[in-house]
């Protein structure tokens, strides 16, 4: 007969009482141990209207601190291609191109934590206001006043409708990333930022293609 592992006394031994299972419950908050260490950042930033099925919010812009959460830009759109972002200088220089128009880029985050940019077209000084764009700007201001809002549907009169969630921002904290607004813009547009005349977009506009 083999003795236990050593000459050490092995009894008494203390074990759990199976009738007291409740006392041995392992707190399941450990499942989230690593959550704070891993903020998820997307390597792409989408430029799209907030999804209609989901509440979103935006941050207000502080006075004297522009380009923190939104900014005015010029966008150049060519059918079949992703839009380009054009600096004001370049937009002015190429003002004859009717594919360039002013936009407001707004950073927003959905209730599920998806962060993206909303590009709202602005009415050029010599044009008639577009009710889609006007309603979109209104919705941005409502969201910026500290509300979760959701675009509901398009109406026959050509404007967005919206609903406001009963949940406040303190009940459901918006999860904006640590990235700055301009970082998001950089990621979103990548090499489609037009900073000078050397950019390929001018060739595309002039000749139809670079290839």
């Amino acid at each position: 007969m083999t003795k236990p592992t050593s000459t050490e006394k092995v009894v008494p031994i203390t074990v759990g009482n199976p009738a007291s299972a409740t006392a041995f419950v392992i707190d399941q908050s450990h499942m989230e141990d690593f959550a704070t260490e891993a903020e998820e950042n997307s390597s792409v930033v989408e430029v799209r209207r907030p999804p209609r099925g989901m509440y979103f919010t935006v941050l207000p812009e502080e006075k004297g601190k522009p380009m923190q959460n939104r900014g005015y830009f010029f966008q150049l759109e060519i059918p079949g291609r992703d839009p380009y972002l054009v600096t004001p200088e370049m937009a002015k220089k190429h003002s004859e191109e009717d594919v360039i128009r002013p936009i407001l880029l707004v950073r927003y985050v959905t209730m599920s934590g998806e962060e993206a940019l909303w590009s709202i077209k602005l009415t050029p000084p010599d044009s008639k206001a577009n009710s889609w764009n006007t309603s979109a700007l209104n919705i941005v201001e409502i969201a910026a006043s500290g509300k979760w809002v959701r675009i509901v549907s398009k109406q026959k009169n050509g404007a967005y409708r919206h609903t406001i969630s009963k949940k406040s921002l303190t009940e459901e904290m918006p999860k904006f990333s640590e990235r700055s607004f301009l970082e998001l813009v950089d990621i979103a547009y990548g090499d489609r930022k037009v900073l000078d005349d050397a950019h390929e977009v001018w060739t595309i506009l002039a000749e139809g293609s670079t290839e």
Binding site: T14, G16, A21, V25, A38, P51, M54, G113
Partner: protein
Amino acid sequence: MSGDHEIVCSRIVFPDSEFDAKVGRGEIPGFPICICAIEIDENNNIIKHRLRAPYPERPPWDRGTPYLTAGFALGAEAGSFMHAFPNCPFPSPAIDLYAEYMVIHNSEMVKAAGGESKQPGPSLIQACRRYGVPTMDPVYKERMRELAYSKTNHTQEEITELQEYCLEDDCASTLRLFFAMLPLLDLLRAPIRGAFMMEIERIRWRGKPIDIVPYQEAKQYAPVILPKMRQDLNRKLGAEVYFADVFKRRTMLRLMRQHNIPIPIDPKTSKESCAIKLIKPMIETYPLLKDFYEDKRMIDAIKNLKLEIGSDGRGRCWLNPFGTKTGRNNPSTNRELLGLPHTMRSFMKPGPGMAIAQVDIGNEEVGIAAAYSGDPVLMEDYQSGDPYKRFAADALGVTNPTKQQRQVYKACVLGQIYGVGAGTLARNLGISKAEARRIIDQTNARYPVLKAWLKRVQIKAAHGVPITCVLGWSLKMINGDPSEERTFLNYPMQANGAELMRLVILRAGHLPLIGCAHDSFIVEDTIERIEQTVAEVRDIIRQASRDLFGFELRADYKPETDCVCYPDRFVDEREREDGMRHWNWFMALIEEARNADIGFSDPGQRAASPDEKDGSAAIKNENAEEIGVRGPVGQAPASVD
């Protein structure tokens, strides 16, 4: 921690017994030829106990002071104790080294099986080898087993030989294994699993009453009815998916294409597949697939019917506790009645004066997800009684959503918990990907806290550290592939559900439980007592969920549908909703085969298949009596309490 929660054991007992296990025969294991134990007493001395029939009233080591029982696969010893010491409760506290091995090595066993399933549990010899513990020669063990199994009238010399083997090999190996595993044992929670292992053996002992005549006829006439079932399925589908009795996968895939049914891609092979498990989420959307799914499962099951039924007409099968990576039981799908397709569970039928009832943990995964994520809306929806209906009603702005609308939101909520993407959801529901994405967005907007919690769980799993459940069951990520990532999304719900199942079984040991399948519990009692028994089971489920999760899960039971009294037979809820058409079709085919066998066949009368709803050949009543199937059904369970 209070003293009541811990037990200081002044002694440790390592019992083992030799008996005819009657493996695979559905019988209660044989009376123990001998029961032996090594005891380490208060002074660290070793005492050897050798018992044989007639056994004393209680084991000699049960002397009043607390002692720890440690065994390997304690279910076997639980059986011997029920035979030899019928008036004694199971020893407590007890640690089952088999269960602890399954807990400690879960991730390793899943990895060894390739990640999808899990290696089978070890034998005592294998476990000893894993820990480098000296153990017995397998040839010698086999010889001793043969001696124990081959006869009942052992001589005194043979009993002595078996006692020596039992004590010096099995008990001694278990003792050595215990000390080798001791540094890894969770001594606080191991006794919960030890008690569960013995209670689950009690459930097996009780067995399920099987209506023997139709079962035997199903086996007997399987070669006759199977070709007819295959022909019927071909006819229903309008294609020869069975050709010369062989299933033709390519024909089925072609048929799906013809009907514009999207074909799932098997994540393992990246190839198109019509495998049953991939088709299942689509059956509510595509009626053709529902026919295929139900009928093919029946055909496959009938081809290989092997229920383990004892001479008393009761089905008893090893429930393979801890057999899956989530810690759920994993019994054989053709030997255990509840492993059969739900359309065939009506072989279970209570005997005279008896009733069978089923209690389900309502929407278990959703309830656990609500509890742990703390999502207030999901908790509220769960507590409403039908979270899917409530979500559908709110999302669609209707008071009473249709069954189909509810199904869409059910698929989406469960899909989030199972990590289903827009593409798969669209395929399962027959909607566009954009529409699926919109519904997923709705789900995320409604349950943002749930979504964030699931993400945090995934983040932890991605660190390759074990995710440990409420009573200690754990698993860690192995290779991080997408299917494994989905496993971990769902793992907290499945594995904690398994922990709940174990606690319920442990606490319901005094009640006549005869089965458990996933989130449901089946009890058998007299017709007079059944409602009281059900009420007790429901209380236990609710209390156990409060104890484990701090949140009460529902224990669903409707007397009008979830309880059957003799002479009716058990009917699964889904088959009942389907008007028992599969069962009736199955019984009609058996009758047809029987009549042909005894020369009464009427070639003009063919058994109507389940899709022929008012076919006159279909049996109108759920009871086999309607088709003349009468015969003994399982007897009331032998008392094992």
